[in-house]
Amino acid sequence: MPDLDFTGLAEEARQAFKPRFDEVVRRTRRRRWWLAGLATVAVTLASGGVAVGLAGGTASTPDETQVTRRVALTPVAVGDAARFYQLVQSCDTVVCHDRFGVSSDRGARWTLRDAPGPADASREILLAVNLTVVVAARQGSETTHWVTTDGGQTWRPATAEDRELGVNDRIMFVDGSRVVSVAAGTGRVGVAPGEAPLKEARPFEAGSAWGLVGFTGNRTGLSIAWSVPGARPWEVLPLPRDDGFMDVTTANGTDVYALYQGEGGIQVYASRDGGRTWTPGAVVPDPHGSGPMLATRTGLLWLATTTAVLSSTDGGRTFQPHPRFVAAGALTFDVATDLYVASTKGVNPRVWVSEDGRTWAETPS
């Protein structure tokens, strides 16, 4: 009979908590600022100042209204150097709707369009490349993948076809033992006929290569797998260990970093030969053990913990807090050619962009 020690769970979880009342104050300030902005809009509407779209009673196109985003449901997905996408929830006084946010100026202004799928579906952006975006929408036990090739103006349900991975394909996920991809530009979804190189795998950003991280066995043998579109078959290389894996990142396919949850914090491992050999790097204290990692082409390694965003200039051996992201909340990174993006979700979403992976600017500034 296993131990159902709820008291121990409650006590240890309570002790792990580090009070941060400043975070409450910060959220409150932003909430007041946001509500004040909303009140201003309401007053303007009441006085008939802006009747188009937002009022909802005209024949114009409310689904194309230029407005500030509401609650961000997902991190920003980067289509290209200018085009960002994000699922948001937009509420009026009666009802909330999920909307598909599109920005063509790096997040300075957003256009909210109808999100694909039924109104009460739960959605996630699976992939964005240029104007091609795939959104998974689930309603009950039904999941539909929706594809747009015009930046969210029109959507169609994806129908998968059996075909080999092509050079224009981006991997979306591994379904069972099959790699599922979408072709940038056409939005055609393909299921590769051969067995995927890893089980229970997910893709990771690997520059011009395809990268997968998953298991070789039954939840054992955690590994990464590389392949170059049309050039070489999958190469499977073991990661440092199985337990506690959190993230893997590379900017060039040679310098690869793996992140694990360790005893005293989160442990970084580095490889200088594409994942053939690994050496342990810094152990970063993080009470919550979260954190995506981002390797950039200028050599900087970024690590977003729950309490700070850190950067390393020595290949993950040491990390320093970065002042740009103080009190930013949980960050997520995304990458497009020549652009890095960091974003947060929630009521007060924030977006930072960087062209060199070194200096970041918040947008709108």
């Binding site: 009979m1 296993p2 131990d3 159902l4 020690d5 709820f6 008291t7 121990g8 769970l9 409650a10 006590e11 240890e12 979880a13 309570r14 002790q15 792990a16 908590f17 009070p19 941060r20 009342f21 975070e23 409450v24 104050v25 959220r27 409150t28 909430r31 007041r32 509500l35 449901l73 739960s122 959605r123 996630e124 699976l126 998974a136 689930r138 996920f173 591994v174 229970e200 795998a201 997910r202 991280v213 998953g214 939840r219 054992t220 894996f245 959190m246 993230d247 949850q261 914090g265 009470p287 919550h288 053990g289 979260s290 954190g291 995506p292 729950t306 909340g329 949980a330 929630g346 009521v347």
Partner: protein, 168 residues
Amino acid sequence: MDSEADLRAIYLASAGRLVAVLYALTGDYAEAEDAVHEAFARALSRPGQLRRVDSPEAWLRTVAMNIARTRFRRRVLLDRIVHSGRLRPRSVPPISPDRVALADALQELPRVVRECLVLRYVADLTIADVARAQQCSVDAVKSRLLRGRRALAARLDDRLDDKEESRA
């Protein structure tokens, strides 16, 4: 009661307990912290709200749970869609693996049963208070607790067996 100083005192006294409850409910420590911070931010941004309640901690727990229900329903569903059986970065506190296993096993229970167990055993509410919180009878709470404990024990037993098999 609702000034920033007062709320800070309530925060220091109760936020840890609330995070523990939300962690047991969601299985994700960062998300639990986020929901609790959001609940406190709502309290601070609505002056007078806490003055009207008998137990600020109970009110904050309810708000945080509502935030978690709304926010995590999406996440859980989407995890099933997108990450089902696949690797996904998780956020767990630095606590012993047995406790993490218990929190993980709780996530496999139906929401109403999970909430019942967490309110009773982690938040330490009386059975009558749990019944009020869940708007059901005391007998229903007892039944959920019994079912929930049995289901949890079975799940943890399975995990133990799996671990031993993989060692062997």
